[in-house]
Amino acid sequence: MSPFTKVLAAFAICFTASAASISDSLKTIRAVGPEGKGNAAAAQAWQALAQAKPAALPQILAAMDGANPLASNWLRAAVDTIASRAKDLPQMELMKFIANQKHDPRARRLAYELIKNVNPQLASKLIPGLLNDPSVELRRDAVQRVIDQGADLKKTNKPDLAQKQYRIALDAARDIDQIKEITAALRALGQKVDLPRHFGFLMHWTVIGPFDNTDRAGFAKIFPPENKVDLTATHDGKAGKVKWSQFVTANEYGMVDINKAYPGPGDGLKEVTAYAYTEYAAAAARTVELRLGCKNAWKIWHNGKLIFGRDEYHRGLRIDQYKLTINLAKGRNTLLVKLCQNEQQQDWTKEWQFQLRVCNATGTALLAPDRPITPKTGTHNNQPANSTRTPRKK
């Protein structure tokens, strides 16, 4: 680009910044979509938007409400750019933005960090009020504050007060590291913690298998449970007839270990497929997240509709590894999980298991009204599929 052209381009940007409204730029950026759709227009709009004065920051942050994740990143880059050259930020307006919980959780956290960078004292005043904030990132600091209070009380030999603080922290905690820290502290104080209930792990299942997964073909193959779940039916499995049986996990992270249902020889069955079925009673129709942890290939159906599947084996498992948004119907909802084990023989390929929970976008467990009490022992096999579940104690 020649210097003359550069000057012209700079002039054009300045002109654009002054002439085009911020709202026009925001609209263009929010229109970005899959596979780079809208990128070229967004780049021009971004150049103009990034020239905006700091007073525009709340408006740009507000544009993240309902924006797709790609658009949010475009907007975030504009916020960072504007804030990095600003001498003063509109702190009071940003405080108001944070206080409005209807705004996008990540935008509110970003506003908090902008304030924290220039006025840490003001930011710290916000923390106590964020304990049950819909932004997980915002509530994290508030939870840590209460954890620290609990630890101080424990150090000063006030276990009852410490326990109370830890309970408050646990109720609010959504990050696994904090939950583990609080659980350990409470248990050290002789307290019980019902982790499956805290997370909302689904503990009661009926399972059927093994079906074939030779050469990993079982992932794509449609076995009878995919067409219809009939808990009284018998089907042709990999090595004979198979039928549904009850499976209750007592694992405190909700792990449904299919190897326990179908132990097989040695380190367990290989090249096999199983299905796990459960029901979830919703008090009202609503949007929820299914959160899955799994290191085997899997598919999930909700009310008979395939939600998602992934044919990856033994690359790792963690809580909330996959987040799937579904719309629960009022009343009975069915969930069917297909779980495939492959041919690998290494020590780290024994696992044939998953963990599944129902929660909101914050990660707060959504417990079914008829959720049974958390089981103390697991039931692994040879239980009739229609056996009565233990009702929750009133």
């Binding site: 020649s2 210097p3 899959p34 596979e35 780079g36 990128n39 070229a40 967004a42 780049a43 971004w46 150049q47 990034a50 797709n68 994740p69 790609l70 949010s72 990143n73 475009w74 975030r76 880059a77 504009a78 960072d80 750019t81 990095s84 990540r106 990132e137 994290r140 990050d175 696994i176 590291d177 290191k295 998602f308 992934r310 044919d311 990856e312 084996y313 690359r315 790792g316 498992l317 963690r318 590894q321 996959y322």
Partner: protein
């Protein structure tokens, strides 16, 4: 006119041939033309250390007076960072953050900031394990971004992705190969929009694409090597002898040294590189561990899983000498005309003179830090990035 020439010259000096603008440097083979790097090391060679806001094992870039580095932070590593530092003093010139749009789960040893960015000297193209691709200019202004897992929902690897992007012509080559939805894409470097998308073997793959010619790239996978036309993604030829999925191939003087059966040397067809290459030799005794091979002078060097540096004859693949370094190594070494700079996973930088009958360690510097990324070289300095810091080392 004089004014025009002066300005043009000044602009072109912003990015020079000696800049380190991609994984393994200007030629993509780890070799630098720098001549003034320290051969013996002590604390006085450590010019500055700057804390980073997140983890990472991507290599730094060095462009003019700026050093660029990527990181990831947060409980789930879902914050993506790109920083520009003043190469002189390490001061942060700008810092941009983004939210990961794809999965961020990865093995504890690696990080979401694993791929080394690339640059054309005007823009930085950063790729993360979440398959977010972000283009910023050298002043930190966003040019475009993509979320490849948002586009292709099963493009991910629960152990983490690490393939570094490659710039060729007007395309950014992004290799997002994994067990499930496995692709290599060419993105328009101006807009980020797909130029082409190629189905690739369904298998986890952490290797990076290699530029063979101005129009041809090599994609490595467990199956071997595919030579792909950068213009349209069509295949020119394949080597189907299998290859490693961790260390990448290295090109020097028309010969591709592939981590396959140890090292396999493939000579590109001299008349037309799109024709099938000639297999010169295979050397099982040169088998590399995690680090990619480096070619220097008339030798090819590999480091195995035990930390043994092996020099092989470039003509025959025969082993010439071995030197045991203190390992283990993840980072690919960088090389001057005579020396290798090898940094192990605990931050011990070891300088090896390669000219003798066997390797001679001429200097060491213990940074006592977790370093898994390949060093960057520029402006007479070596830049090492750890999981928490970036270091500048020079005379």
């Amino acid at each position: 006119m004089k004014y025009f020439i002066a300005l043009t010259l000044a602009f072109s000096l912003q990015a020079t041939a000696a800049d380190w603008k991609q994984f393994r440097g200007p030629q993509g083979n780890g070799v630098t033309s720098e001549r003034n790097l320290p051969l013996t090391l002590s604390e006085k060679n450590l010019k500055w250390t700057i804390p980073l806001p997140g983890r990472g094992l991507s290599g730094a870039l060095v462009i003019g007076e700026k050093t660029f580095v990527t990181c990831s932070s947060g409980i789930t590593q879902n914050r993506l960072h790109i920083l520009a530092l003043n190469a002189k003093d390490g001061g942060v010139i700008w810092h941009r953050q983004f939210w990961a749009t794809g999965r961020t789960m990865c093995h504890g040893k690696t990080s979401v900031a694993a791929p080394t960015p690339c640059s054309d000297g005007k823009n930085i193209f950063a790729v993360f394990s979440s398959n977010d691709v972000i283009c910023l200019d050298l002043d930190g202004n966003l040019q475009w971004l993509r979320g490849l897992t948002a586009d292709y929902a099963n493009v991910s690897n629960s152990l983490g992705m690490s393939s570094s992007p490659l710039l060729i012509g007007s395309a950014i080559i992004v290799q997002v190969e994994n067990d499930s939805e496995s692709y290599t894409l060419a993105l328009n470097k101006r807009t980020g929009i797909n130029l082409w998308k190629l189905n690739r073997p369904k298998a986890a793959n952490w290797t990076s694409p290699v530029r063979l010619t101005n129009t041809l790239i090599a994609l490595q996978s467990k199956n071997g090597i595919d030579a792909i036309r950068a213009a349209d993604g069509t295949k020119a030829w394949s080597y189907d002898g299998g290859a490693s999925t961790i260390p990448s191939s290295t090109l020097r003087s028309g010969v591709l040294y592939v981590p396959s059966h140890g090292i396999t040397a493939l000579e590109l067809n001299k008349a037309d590189a799109e024709n099938t290459p000639k297999e010169l030799w295979q050397s099982p005794r040169l088998s590399p561990g995690t680090a990619s091979p480096v070619v220097l002078g008339n030798k090819v060097f590999t480091i195995n899983g035990a930390g043994v540096l092996t020099a092989g004859n470039l003509e025959s693949g025969e082993r010439i000498w071995q030197t045991r370094l203190k390992g283990p190594f993840s980072a690919t070494p960088v090389a001057t005309a005579t020396h290798l700079y090898c940094v192990n996973e605990t931050g011990l930088l070891q300088v090896v003179d390669t000219r003798g009958k066997e390797g001679e360690i001429t200097g060491t510097l213990n940074l006592d830090d977790t370093i898994l990324g390949s060093p960057a070289v520029g402006g007479g300095a070596i830049y090492l990035r750890s999981n928490t810091k970036i270091y500048k080392i020079s005379e």
